[in-house]
């Protein structure tokens, strides 16, 4: 057991695991990974690489990052990292609280006071006097750097696993003035068993858009109002890159997921009514929008066009049976009626619509803290290299012990200048 633990926590195992993740990453970056909407990309790659396609299928390489063996290896990596981190913390504590270096190397005729003055001039501070030895240190806090970096990696890895495993996501589709109340259905949920519940009614009040002079979206912000216990509404703004935090949930606005919606009612000859909200993507002045997918209305499939700017501005809504490119669409103004594929259609009105992502993300705060710890450790690792100098005054001169925790050869010149030696003639403790 002890031997297994030693093997698992050895540096060789760490390097092997890093190499494993790197190789898997390279494979996963080269072979397209399956996700909704990438079927065509995968098919094209398979057509180009018929030999590799068989291997990819056999080993599940199109979903390498969610394969059981990759996740298992990541779990082993987390365990190894955790144990190694504990050992590093213990080592850093020993270095932090230890007695300091032993002064062994002698410099005949030197003065400890002169050396101490030169050390202090370049930033060394006297740490303690232990017996007859004076111990100086520079960037002493740097002894924690490696441990801090690895703590950050461990915390991030665990928080990422928690966040990925427990995030509840849904998509909320609202039109202007519409209210989503607790318990209402979402447009789509990632996991039917884990629906995020914000707990307060939310009303969509509209989208504000700014465009660049030459075209293209510059700013998009949506206003969502929430109702408190007294029944009053409080407006809140959510924009792309600035999600809204609400009751432990995060609400994201998405570029391209908003625009105008036409409210229409289709009626059959038998009097059956189908109210439909036809959503069009946002268009800039002079453009025309088309629905991304046809609408199925009681078995009749309809395409729609939205043209509010040009010659059809008076009757901006166009409808026709899906796939029928030969006939002219029926165009309607608000309040107007017409007939499409045997159905009577009435155009009731227009409003903005927007689609929001709602997520409950336990672990995200911890993950961001983990990231900060990694950043701190990385900067400490190469910004604060701890050096320590012990000096003992003797009858013949001075005995010294000098040590840099990392990259000691880079500080040889500093060491020898402090000790008053010719460059490269000093020794590490």
């Amino acid at each position: 057991m002890r031997r297994l633990l030693d093997v698992l926590t050895s540096r060789g195992t760490s390097i092997a695991l890093m190499a494993f993740v790197a190789v898997c990453g390279a494979i996963g970056a080269y072979i397209p990974q399956s996700s909704p909407g990438r079927e065509a990309t995968i098919a094209a790659w398979r057509a180009r690489n018929p030999l590799l396609a068989g291997v990819a299928d056999a080993l599940g390489l199109h979903a390498i990052f969610s394969s059981w063996w990759f996740l298992a290896m990541l779990a082993v990596f987390a365990v190894v990292l955790g144990i190694a981190t504990l050992r590093m913390l213990a080592g850093a504590w020993r270095a932090w609280s230890g007695e300091g270096r032993v002064a062994r190397t002698a410099i005949v005729g030197a003065s400890a006071d002169d050396i101490a003055a030169r050390a202090q001039a370049v930033g060394y501070r006297q740490r303690r006097v232990a017996g007859d030895a004076r111990v100086f240190a520079r960037h002493r806090v740097g002894v924690w750097a490696s441990a801090i970096l690895h703590v950050g990696m461990f915390v991030s890895l665990i928080a990422a696993a928690v966040a990925l495993g427990s995030t509840r996501g849904a998509i909320l589709d609202l039109s202007e003035g519409e209210v989503h109340s607790p318990g209402d259905a979402y447009w789509a949920v990632e996991d039917a068993q884990a629906v995020p519940e914000i707990g307060v009614p939310i009303r969509f009040d509209g989208v504000t858009v700014a465009t660049w002079p030459g075209g293209g979206l510059r700013e998009v912000s949506a206003t969502l109002s929430t109702r408190d216990g007294s029944g009053s509404w409080t407006p809140r703004v959510v924009s792309v890159n600035h999600p809204l935090r609400l009751n432990g949930h995060t609400i994201y606005a998405q570029p391209g997921e908003f625009g105008d919606a036409a409210f229409v009612i289709f009626r059959t000859d038998e009097g059956v009514e189908y109210p439909v909200r036809i959503e069009f993507p946002f268009i800039e002045e002079g453009d025309v929008a088309y629905t991304e997918e046809p609408y199925d209305v009681g078995g009749v499939v309809v395409d729609a066009r939205w043209d509010p700017y040009a010659v059809r501005a008076a009757e901006p809504l166009g409808l026709r049976p899906a796939g029928d490119d030969s006939s002219e669409p029926v165009t309607l103004a608000e309040g107007g009626t017409g007939t499409v594929a045997g159905l009577t259609v009435e155009y009731i009105g227009t409003a903005q619509w927007a689609r929001f992502i709602i997520q409950r993300e336990p672990g995200m705060t911890v993950l961001l803290i983990g990231f900060s710890i990694i950043a701190l450790g990385s900067l400490m690792l190469y910004g604060w290299i701890p050096r320590e100098l012990a000096l003992v005054e003797t009858d013949e001169g001075v005995r010294y012990g000098w040590h840099a925790a990392r990259m000691s050869r880079a500080y040889v010149a500093e060491r020898d200048a402090i000790l008053g030696l010719d460059a490269g003639t000093g020794e590490d403790a």
């Binding site: 540096r11 760490s14 390097i15 890093m18 190499a19 993740v21 790197a22 990453g25 390279a26 996963g28 970056a29 397209p32 990974q33 990309t41 990052f65 990422a160 966040a163 996501g169 660049w212 030459g214 075209g215 293209g216 979206l217 510059r218 700013e219 998009v220 792309v240 890159n241 600035h242 999600p243 995060t250 994201y252 570029p255 992502i357 997520q359 995200m364 993950l367 961001l368 990231f371 990694i374 950043a375 990385s378 900067l379 690792l381 190469y382 990392r406 990259m407 050869r409 880079a410």
Partner: protein
């Protein structure tokens, strides 16, 4: 704004010409023992850097966003950061001037490619906003410059016995080259890692997820891991010399792949970047 854009392109070309002459002077001066010519090259590089700075500033003003979106902007910014990094290093440690024989031509290549791709302006997409994106990009620029300096030492180490390198003035001994490549690889690892993390935070605010195994993200992680393996192997297994320099070369190739080539090879969430 349009005036600024009309001026920045000729200024970029001027900086390119200055860098070209500077690189020629420095390579010729240091290999042919003509210190006066090398000094003139360094002065010209500083002039080029000043003009390049103005050009990038005008580009920033003209487009309304930082120079980090199109190929032109990304390559030019990388060239600027690498040149600034090199000049800072030379100012702090004049002895490191030997490295300019590699870094000046590399900067010339980057800026030459930038000018070749053309200064077409692209408006910043909605998701490419915010302080986290700016931090993400800045840390990668610095990481790339550090990787370039590190590789420069590694290349000099590998080629130190060749006649050409032996002619370069003041090239330090093999141990110093090896040590310096290690130091700057450490800096690359630190800044690359922070660049990746700030990118994850930007992705979280933009798309609601911090990591998506997007090809550019994944290559970036692979690069970071390779630098991590390099640092572990050096510190704990005493790897140094030629094998260390070769591993560094692999890391640099991966860095180039993830920063500049992945967007050519595959579709990515970063697809607006480097186009």
């Amino acid at each position: 704004m349009e005036q600024a854009l009309a001026i920045e392109t000729p200024l970029h070309v001027f900086a390119l010409v200055a860098y070209a002459i500077a690189a020629g002077c420095v390579v010729f001066g240091t290999t042919m023992s003509k210190p006066g010519i090398a000094r003139a090259g360094h002065t010209l590089a500083l002039v080029g850097l000043a003009v390049h700075s103005v050009a990038l500033g005008l580009r920033w003003y003209g487009t309304g966003h930082g120079p980090y979106l199109t190929r032109y902007e990304v390559l030019s910014s990388n060239a600027w950061v690498a040149m600034t990094f090199m000049q800072a290093l030379r100012w702090r440690r004049p002895v490191s001037a030997y490295l300019t024989t590699l870094i000046y031509p590399a900067v010339l290549l980057l800026l030459g490619l930038a000018v070749y791709t053309g200064p077409e302006v692209q408006m910043l997409p909605l998701t490419f906003r915010g302080v986290w994106l700016v931090l993400h990009v800045c840390f990668y620029f610095v990481a790339f410059a550090a990787a370039l300096i590190s590789l420069g030492h590694g290349v000099l180490y590998i080629a130190r016995d060749t006649t050409l390198v032996q002619r370069v003035a003041n090239v330090p001994d093999a141990a110093t080259l090896d040590r310096e490549s290690y130091r700057f690889a450490g800096l690359t690892f630190a800044f690359w890692g922070i660049g990746m993390l700030t990118g994850a935070i930007w992705a979280y605010y933009s798309w609601g997820r911090f990591w998506g195994w997007d090809p550019i993200e994944t290559w970036s992680l692979v690069t970071w891991f390779v630098y991590g393996i390099y640092l572990h192997a050096r510190r704990f297994y005493g790897m140094k010399g030629r094998s260390a320099a070769m591993l560094l070369l692999l890391g640099f190739v991966l860095a180039i792949l993830s920063l500049f080539f992945t967007s050519f090879l595959t579709t990515s969430l970063h697809s607006e970047y480097f186009h």
